[in-house]
């Protein structure tokens, strides 16, 4: 039981980070209809940028802030250079451009930073574990979870209460109506990419703090796909719930099924789950069910 509680807690903690990245994904999809497969590499870029700043001796929070700014710039640039020209193109074209982007980002990151695992030195969070009742949690996990939750709240408030956030919601809901009311769709697309880049960067930084940073963090970014499928592609609460569920599922499967199926159950379980889930409920928990007409 204790083991279950432990894996469950650490699953929830990691799931918080996935939820953050998944939120960025859903945002892009909601606002501009782009199905983004470059999310993993966006987490990589943000993580490496903040690691570089941090190892230059800048305090962690400031390094994170810098990586947010760079994420903002990169997001706007990506949208303007690549995605802006593809509005109205078929789905496959847009998806493949994001795949192309993912390889471009990944190759660039590997060329600049290499493939060795890097760690944040000195460690940002102390390695003393914290006891919460019977459960022992690593500090990195706990603080990452807290940071992810704070950012999630900030983002959700941003959508609900600010002018820009409302403009983004309006565009997501009905682009034509939003355009006629004077919302600039191009601005909204750029903002969506910028926010997604920033969210991914924070997610990547936190993940890098937990396990050290190498290319496989980009693979963790792919885990947002099962998360968003579970929650429904265009649902913000769905992304949050999906991220946490996937985190828990991954850890619990890793802990319990590894005995029976050795060799990477932890990596595969979310995808297996996703395939089975798709067969029964392809629109996710809270996604819109689009009625197709010929």
């Amino acid at each position: 039981m204790e083991m279950f509680l432990m894996t469950f807690t650490s699953g929830v903690m990691v799931g918080g980070i996935y939820a953050l990245v998944a939120l960025g994904w859903v945002l892009i999809y909601k606002c501009s209809g782009v199905l983004n497969l470059a999310m993993g590499e966006m987490t990589l870029i943000g993580a490496y940028v903040s690691l570089s700043f941090y190892s230059m001796g800048i305090p962690f929070l400031l390094a994170l802030l810098f990586s947010l700014i760079i994420g903002l710039v990169l997001g706007i640039l990506t949208e303007r250079i690549f995605l802006d020209k593809l509005i109205g193109e078929p789905v496959l074209t847009v998806i493949m451009v994001t795949v192309g982007l993912s390889f471009f980002f990944k190759g660039t990151v590997e060329l600049i930073w290499g493939t060795d695992t890097r760690v944040f030195t000195p460690p940002v969070f102390s390695i003393e574990p914290i006891h919460i009742g019977p459960v022992i949690v690593g500090q990195a996990y706990l603080w990452s979870f807290v940071a992810a939750i704070i950012l999630l709240i900030v983002f959700v408030c941003f959508f609900k209460y600010t002018r820009w956030g409302l403009a983004m919601q309006a565009t997501a809901d009905d682009e034509m109506a939003a355009l006629s009311l004077g919302v600039s769709a191009r601005f909204v697309y750029a903002a969506a990419w910028a926010i997604a880049f920033m969210a991914a960067g924070v997610g990547g930084t936190l993940l890098g703090n937990i396990n050290g940073l190498n290319i496989s963090v980009g693979y963790l970014g792919l885990l947002v796909l099962p998360a968003v499928v579970l929650g429904g592609l265009n649902s913000v609460p769905g992304a949050i719930v999906g991220g946490i569920v996937i985190g828990v599922l991954q850890n619990v499967c890793g802990a319990y099924l590894d005995k029976y199926f050795p060799g990477g159950v932890k990596e595969v379980a979310p995808f297996v789950f996703m395939v089975i889930f798709l067969l029964f409920k392809p629109h996710g928990l809270w996604g819109w069910e689009r009625i197709e007409r010929v």
């Binding site: 496959l92 493949m96 795949v99 471009f104 990944k106 796909l225 990596e267 595969v268 010929v294």
Partner: protein, 368 residues
Amino acid sequence: MSTTWLPCGVYHQDYHQDHGWWQTKFIKGKMILLFIILFVVIPLFADSYSLSVCNQVGYTVLGALGVQLLIGFCGQITLGHAAFIAVGAYTSTLLILEFPWPKFMMDFGVAYPLSILIAAFAAGIWSVLFGLPSARVKGFYLILTTMAAQFITVDFIITGYVSQIGGRGQAFSLPPGTIKVGPWVIDSDLKVYFMMLVLVISCVVVMVNLLRSKVGRAWVAIRDNDISAEVMGINVVKYKLYAFYVAGFIGGIAGAFWISNLAAISPEHFPWFWSLWLVGVILIGGVGSIHGTIFGSIFMVVVMELLQLGVMQFMDTSWGERLFMDFLFLKEAAFGLAICVFMIFEPNGLAYRWWQMKNYFNLWPFSY
């Protein structure tokens, strides 16, 4: 398959001509010339390096044909085709290494060709298994399930279980002399080249003929609009699964062929990158065109080789050496950029340009 305009003054008078393989004498001559170049000129004059580049092109064509069938002709986007290629390669390897072939079959060199066939069937069935979700989901969701096929097959089943068979560790090495087709032991680039030619040509011919048949027309109807295809009485699920089967079959052939060129196979030969690479090949070549598959393969392989040669020019500088060491990463970045640029500026691919050029010359000097 009358996709090009005929030259001025040439008209078809019945449907047979419309469906002909070689519609004019000029095209026939051109194809014979192509065959002469492929079978005589290249083997005579090419050195080992260019032959190995040709083999890579052939492997890419074989792999991309299945992807082209699924994406370009049936509209089922797949991002996990390397899994089926891997299934083919591993089936063939295991059959060669572990199956107790009778002595005479080994002597006559039947074992490897037979294993290619069995590998193709196995990969086809595996592909249908992961095509099953296509009955319920499409578009982006199907992309996700095919992605899952890649991770489940290669990263989990093959790495964790299949690789452990026989206790060889991660890589299966093929002892020289085991890969034998008839009386020939496939041990040089030239022999691989000829085998590649035979396989590529037969696969292309089968594909083109399939596309001219009832099945092919059903696929195209599903691609264009699956709901109206269903209304017209096409069993959509059945034909989608056919498409997955044939695509997996060709992928299996590709994998089983490629082991003849590798001394040892391991799961790293079939990464997710390779699946995406194949999709990139058909996008750059042109979606929905057999020409496009071949042009895309040639383009991607040759551009990457040229890039490598270009980097090698700067070997004496320190950054050039580093780039050469990290060439794989440079290749990834260049591939990504190439896809983006093609999608934005040339969304119809190379085949479209080729088609335009052909039409220009067909109608030259007096276009209608």
